[in-house]
Each structure stands twice: as C-alpha cells, then as structure tokens.
Assembly symmetry: C2
Amino acid sequence: MRVIKKEKKFNEARLIEEIKQLSLATGKFNKSLIINSIGDDCAIFKDKNHILVSSDNITENVHFKLDSYSFLEIGEKSLLVNISDIAAMGGIPRLFTLSLSIPEYVSENEIRQTISGIIKTARKYKVSLVGGNISKSSEFSISVTIIGDYKHDNVVRRFGSKIGDKIFVSGELGNSWMAYYLQSNKKYIYENNPNIRSSDKKLIENFIAKFKLPKPRVKLGRELSAKKLANSLTDISDGLSKDIFNVLDLNHGGKIELDEVPFNKHLKYIANILKIDDFIDNAISFGEDYELLWTAGADKEGEILELSKNTGTKIKKIGYIADKFTGARFFKDGRRYHPKNFTFKHL
Amino acid sequence: MRVIKKEKKFNEARLIEEIKQLSLATGKFNKSLIINSIGDDCAIFKDKNHILVSSDNITENVHFKLDSYSFLEIGEKSLLVNISDIAAMGGIPRLFTLSLSIPEYVSENEIRQTISGIIKTARKYKVSLVGGNISKSSEFSISVTIIGDYKHDNVVRRFGSKIGDKIFVSGELGNSWMAYYLQSNKKYIYENNPNIRSSDKKLIENFIAKFKLPKPRVKLGRELSAKKLANSLTDISDGLSKDIFNVLDLNHGGKIELDEVPFNKHLKYIANILKIDDFIDNAISFGEDYELLWTAGADKEGEILELSKNTGTKIKKIGYIADKFTGARFFKDGRRYHPKNFTFKHL
C-alpha cells in the first residue's frame, strides 16, 4: 500500500523560478503600485483608486483544443479574456495571478511556451504578474484573476441603460466564431471543396491568423468611462444574442437591427463560398469576440462615433432601448428575426 | 462533422444564480469596502489600506481524493488554504473569487455541497465572495484568489529574519499528515490490525474528524504583525523541512531542535500502535498543516508566548537563526538529524 503524492513530470520549482524571473519585466508597469510580488505568501498592492477584480479560466476541450491552438496562443488567450473584463468596466488592468493546471502529456517546454504567451500579452497590455501556482491535473487549464483600478466615478457597470439610449458595438462580430470554425475544420473544408482557389485558401489562412485571438478594447473602455459616453457597458463573450441582456434593465427592451450589426467583409465572403447560410446566427451567438457592447444617450452619438478615430476601433450603432417591451428583439430586413443559438453543427 | 461546445450536465445559469444568492450573506462582512459584487464584468473593491493578493487551487487526485473527502470538506479546504496565505502575511482576509472546474461525474447536488463548504468557511472567517466562474472539465478542481488588506506597516514578509532570532511555530505539526494517512488507509489499517481496540478505533475516527481540515491562524498572524512580534513569517504548507527555507535569509542558517517541535499526543500514540517509526519525517515533510512559522528577536519571546493565551493557540520555540552556517540544520537527541522527505510509502 502506497501513500504518495503523484510525481510531477515537470520541475515545479524550476518553472516557478523561471516565471518569477519573467515576471520582473512585467513588474515595471506598475512599479509604484506593487510592493511585493511573486515569492511570498501574498503579493502586496498599494492603490488609492477603486479596485476591480475578475476571474476567468480557460480549459482544454471546453475553451480550446490543443490541435487548434499553439501553446503560445493558449497563454495569450488566457490573459486576453481577463483583460477584456477590466475593459468592460472602463478600468485599467494592473496585475494578475495565474493558476496553471498541467497534465502529464504537456511537456515542460510547452508550459514554457504557454508562459511566453502570457508574458507577451502582459507586456502588450502593461499588466504585472504578481502570483499564482502550478498544479498537476488531467487536463490543461489556466485560471487567471485580474485586478484593475479606476479613478472614482469613472466606471461603467452593466445595468445602467435608460429608455431612448442608443445601443453601440465595437469592431465586428462573428470573427472569432469564423476563425474557430475554419481552424477546427480546415482539413475537412479543403477536402470537400477540392476546387477552392488558392487565393481563397490564403484568405482563409489570413482570417484565422488575424482573428484567432480576441483584442480586448481597453482604450475604448477607458475613453467611454472617462468621457461618460456609456450608461451601461459589457463585453461580448457569449455572443450578442445573450450578452445584450447584460445591458438591458429588467423593465426595458432592446431593439437590435441586424442589418446594422458589423460583419467583416471576408467573413461574409468565406460564408458565401463555403455556403454557410446561417452565418448571422452563428456570428451573434457563438461569442468569444470580446468586443464592447454599450448604451448611451442619443446626444452622445456624435462624440461616440468620433471616438472611433481616436481609438482606431470601428464603432457601430445597432439599436436602441425601448419602453414598449422587455427583453431583446432582433430585426432583419424590416421584419422580426429570432436568432437561433449557435446552430453550426455540420457543413 | 460537428462543431459543438460540449454540453454541460449541470445548469450553469442556475448554479451561478444560487451562488450569487449565497454570496449576499457574505457581502455584509465587508459592506463598506465592496461596491460591486457578483453579476458584473468585475467586482469593485474600495480600500485605503494596502492590498494582499494570493491564488491557490486544489485539484482532485493531487490535493484530495473524492473517496477521502466529502464535497463539503473539499469546498471548505479550497478556501481555508487561501485564507492561510493572508494569515501568513499578518493581514485580514476580505474577499475572494472562485473558479470551479467540474467534471461530468460530479452532480449538481454535489457542486451545491461544495459551494456550501465554501460559504460556510467564508462566513466563519468573514470573507466575501465577489466573483468567479464555472467551467466544465475532466477533473474536479477549485481555484480561489483571495484578497486581503493590512494597515500601513503591519505586514510581515518571508525574508526578514535576523541573526539571533528565535524560531517559533504555532499549533502542532503532522496532524494533517496523520489524518490524511488514516483516512486514506482506514480499511487497510483495520484489516491488518484485527486486534485493534474499539477505543483506539474511536480515537482514530476522532483524530481524522478533528484534523482533516486546516485551521488558518488569522488572529495569530494579525497579532504578530500588529505587535511587531515577527521579523519573518510564513505558513507551513509544504512541511517544516521545506518551509523553513522561506524564513531563512540566504546568508543565515536555521537550527531546529526536533525535540522541541510540537506533536499531538494522540498522533504519537497512534504512530506507536500502528508502528510508524518514522512519524517525525512524515510530520515535518508532508505539509498541509497551515500552522504559522516565524522568527523574532529573543527579547520578544515573553510577549510571543503570552499571545498563546489571547489567541487560544499553542506556540512553541523550536530553534534559532545562526550566522555560522547557511540553510537549515535539524537536531534530535542532541545530534544532527537529516529528515527524509515524506517517506511514508507503506505500512
């Protein structure tokens, strides 16, 4: 009879030391705020502003497949989705902790690539890694807790929409769905479309590369909150058809014009050549776009569309808040439309 | 060919709503500090003090086995080990986020029991649940990020020990190891000791019940920091033989008298009847006790031992910081002793 803790294939102490070294480069971003980082029982954070906290995890076979994402990309994504939560409050992401759960079939070098992706993203968004842990598991999973802050009053919560508010969305919707779909089914698509043009293949490859990972809208979120250009704000993680409810008061309704919802021209082109007729349903219900969705008074519309230039982000008005009904109502070609939930089950 | 997100056996929306309702009861503990809790993209926390952050996770088959722990206990433990990290800095635990990774074989009711254990612990230690997420996985795992605070100057880090400092430990060591060992091997122990007395069986059952879960030393940690009674401080999660290095400066050595290390009398009695000769090695290297380990100047000894009464916690001086060597040296019966790492492989 044996009572032993499971042996770890990777050298935990060495990896933690490596992470600690890598985190030094991210510590400079919030030098005046971080008193204590990795290497003690807790990190210490000094802040006069209000503090935002959010946790999210990504798990193999639920949020990603190892044959569709590189370890670098998995690392990037684990932090990007958390940064988006800070963006969705109009805050500034500051620091994060990391829980890595690592199965036996992931090598130490692959863990290192994952950490590279995390640190790459931390550098890009100037957030500091201040703590965490590594644990053995049967499935690859990364859990991040992100902490951000905002100056008093500059924050936008989900439920603040007013009747008559216009509804806005940043970027384009459905790109994450299409990139995921193409990546996951590439072999099948090419086999079943033997006459596909090489220029279209290239377009598909470029599309995947460009939209595989989300781009959290931190700058836009901050501008919206600082300039008071949003009454309610969230990010689109579960798809417009679900996340719209996060900016609707229980007593209000939201009217969405699907003809106004921004779709990438290449998404439409690819949907056309691959004969994906129901691309709108998938694009608005798959989620993972991490674009911002918000409402603001009609008098703010000019200033909001102006923001598009300053932040280099597309902004589109897609509907308004009504008092005649509750819930969300979608319209297309002038008629009521009932979106189906992520319907894409087969080619 | 199918592109579908895995179906969840549990109703995520309902569980999140239940957790949200349960978290209301924990929100009152930090009412003036929490502006926004579960239900938005982030929680909002307002604090003038310095902030402590730490993440830890517990994973099935690594940190617990489902046949040795009830779901209630797993929930309790996931939060207790994180609270201990705040105690190990002398801080006050305030709030936490929760990432639940749930495999198919865990029922919604079992998840509910796990959450009950978490909320029970949150109520006991007055910490507030402010966010988190639930995800499908192939293995049961709970990742907690805890946030605490402390008044300026009242914090004790790991590396602050001075030459001549005495080394102190709270409570008793090895109880978690013995409880784990007894619980995991109960059937085998009873089968192989057919003449075991029923009073001893009862003693074993009581021991397991009493020491299965750690008791984070929050009050003691706060007293040590507020009264400046520790130069360096940590909690014993990996065992004294490893954690001692966390309170040793690289230039100092630590001398530990194993005869002074506190062991529970029932632990010694059970080790004796079960003929576990190497109980000291296991007791100081298995870890999971979450007792505090700290160093302080010799002039503080009286005040420290006095704390024992105020906090209802045993405190024992077990050695001192020396300048003649580096690293940790253990002594037993007046002679140098080299502890073996968690040696308990068979009865």
